[in-house]
Symmetry: C2
Subunit: 444 residues, 2 copies
Amino acid sequence: MKEKFMGLLEQNKLGQLRQEIVNMNTVDIAQLLEELDKKYLLIVFRILPKEISADVFSYVSYDEQRYIIESITDKEAEHIISELFLDDTIDFLEEMPSNVVKKVLKNTDEETRRLINQFLQYPDESAGSIMTIEYVDLKKEMTIKEALDHIKKTGVDKETIDTCYVIGKNRILEGTISIRKIILSDEMQLIKDVMSTDVIYAKTFDDQETIADIFKKYDFISMPIVDKEKRLVGIVTIDDVVDIIEQENTEDLQKMAAMQPSEEEYLRTNVFSLAKNRIMWLLILMISATFTGNIIRKFEDVLQSVVVLASFIPMLMDTGGNAGSQSSTLIIRGLALGEIELKDILKVLWKEFRVSLIVAVVLSVVNFLRVYYLEGAEFAISVTVCLSLFATVILAKVVGGVLPIIAKKLKLDPAIMAGPLITTIVDALALLLYFAMATTFLNI
Amino acid sequence: MKEKFMGLLEQNKLGQLRQEIVNMNTVDIAQLLEELDKKYLLIVFRILPKEISADVFSYVSYDEQRYIIESITDKEAEHIISELFLDDTIDFLEEMPSNVVKKVLKNTDEETRRLINQFLQYPDESAGSIMTIEYVDLKKEMTIKEALDHIKKTGVDKETIDTCYVIGKNRILEGTISIRKIILSDEMQLIKDVMSTDVIYAKTFDDQETIADIFKKYDFISMPIVDKEKRLVGIVTIDDVVDIIEQENTEDLQKMAAMQPSEEEYLRTNVFSLAKNRIMWLLILMISATFTGNIIRKFEDVLQSVVVLASFIPMLMDTGGNAGSQSSTLIIRGLALGEIELKDILKVLWKEFRVSLIVAVVLSVVNFLRVYYLEGAEFAISVTVCLSLFATVILAKVVGGVLPIIAKKLKLDPAIMAGPLITTIVDALALLLYFAMATTFLNI
């Protein structure tokens, strides 16, 4: 694909190239632009038909957007910005250096400039920061026919016409009506008689995660956003919600792997930011692992007399950590999806206890067979190791299951309670148990 | 909310209850039904207006669906099934015991029964298993007016009318047209002249993850599914894709936490299934931790002479494991989102190497200060511990960054290469390094 276009470019067959490109999906055109050498980027962008160039622009990545805006004329920039949906304009401006922002603002009309400045002020990750203004608004006194005419007149510039929003005095949101309902209704009916008044909406300062949860619950395609006075100010559409869902999942994963969450793509993040996001948690966990070390030091004489005990420490610690992470991961995910609630803490405790009993029995028996028969360890040592393993697995699963719920109760993020922190807690508990049993069973 | 409805139910004020309910969103009605006592469930379900009862039914969970179908008459069941979208019918039938399936099939017409049987045969997680048949199909020779009339006649039963699908001879998919375009076009134009022919579609046997990736890339609301002969057989809609995205994310998380993936909700899964999903990986990892134990046993004499060395093992192992998981998590996520590709392996290697250098220097210096000054360890021991830590962090990050890519190259699932497996590999490497340095620096 790319080769074909490169060939046409090198032979300067721009007419033929244009023919090929206009039949492509805009997302694919954007991808092609990203793959081309910079020197061809502008040539291809400029031969795009005017009606799709803004759409293609919204899909190329920030580096290319910046390069395009910096290279084109003011008039060309004006055209792109006037055609872009406002949410795409905001997304892109937030990532641009000030010279690009200035060039963009200089080439927009006053009204758009005012809106851009207003939208840029909504906090990151709020409904306001992801909404757009290209929706269809109808008046409740309109007839279906008038509504259809209104849509025909204005619909071409809207991000979605699937749901139209019905506003009353002072732009107060009063209802919604789907395009399906409009098409299927009698032309002379009034909007207010067919619209749905049970409107589910969000406020500009609501968190984007809340918005995503509402979309998931009600299977929405779009949703109205209102200000404090319930005036309609924008809509959020499902394509942005899908991005939010992936972004929130990525952040949860990063927290569970003991990193500060970051929105940046890995390959586009510089080495120092990557290191910065990782160091703090590694330091915290390294220092807390000192406690584990202190426990070993306290029992140095036990190790001195039966040094083989040291060789089972990695197995105990790893198995405990893994068992705990399994439980915490399931609970954290359940909390995130709303499948588990705070009030379920006792149910989780009881469930994890029973699961851990089964798991602990199987692991201990297999381990005993291995240690006693295969490795030929002493009987007392084998028993010590297996009982410690048994207790560790149960503790790990109960702690791993309950800690995320407690974290959420304390308004902490359950995800940071996952893997590494559980591991550190379980390590210490496992070693204490191990040495306690060793001193008891081995008479040291 | 629930209390109010319970009150009305207990006083048998069903008329008033119905008034309250009809203004609610169907998802909220379904949630209310789930919260009610079983004895009231059927009463409330039966007072629902006929036109929304099937919709509510599709949103209650499987337990309640089963209870409802088992309790209602054949005629009532027939009505629900005829009103349900086919994908919801399939979802629900797949979870039901055979007596419920029989009752449902007995009460459907022949054509629906044939479709149900056909759809139940598509493999789990294939496009066929999530698609539905309630789409609008248009003929390319139709005028816009004819198309609109067709939509008015049939649209009320369709899952979406936002995009209509244009078919030619033998139902071959030839184009798509959005409802927006239909409304905005001149009534006398022909569909074939305004439809978009660059149709992106998938096949019935394509994996649902592939479908989700296409939706994310192109910001689709719906997408056509065709059979081997490119005949249109169904569509997939965004609400199901959102569920797939969450499900795939859950599965990845479970694999990364060393569990067999499962679709079941935690609280609805029984203890034995939960244990079964966890035991296998714990066993594998427990036994592979034996190697780590063997390394310690091989260096028993080293530990015997400087037993304090044992107390640093947990810190080394934990920090190595955490450092490795950080890298593997970022890479696995990047691969899943398509941000990192196989060809980026050298870029990742180089990036992780530089990040790990920064991280390793910071951690080693802090650790040296702590071990040498705070804990008052011998100089040679402090140096041994810190150099081992330094090398471990670098190894852990490089292995953690590269292993998931290698796994993907070998067509293995990168997610199973995460956390636990990396930890086990890094543990062994860390101990080998540690004892090698100890024997060198401490002259043992």
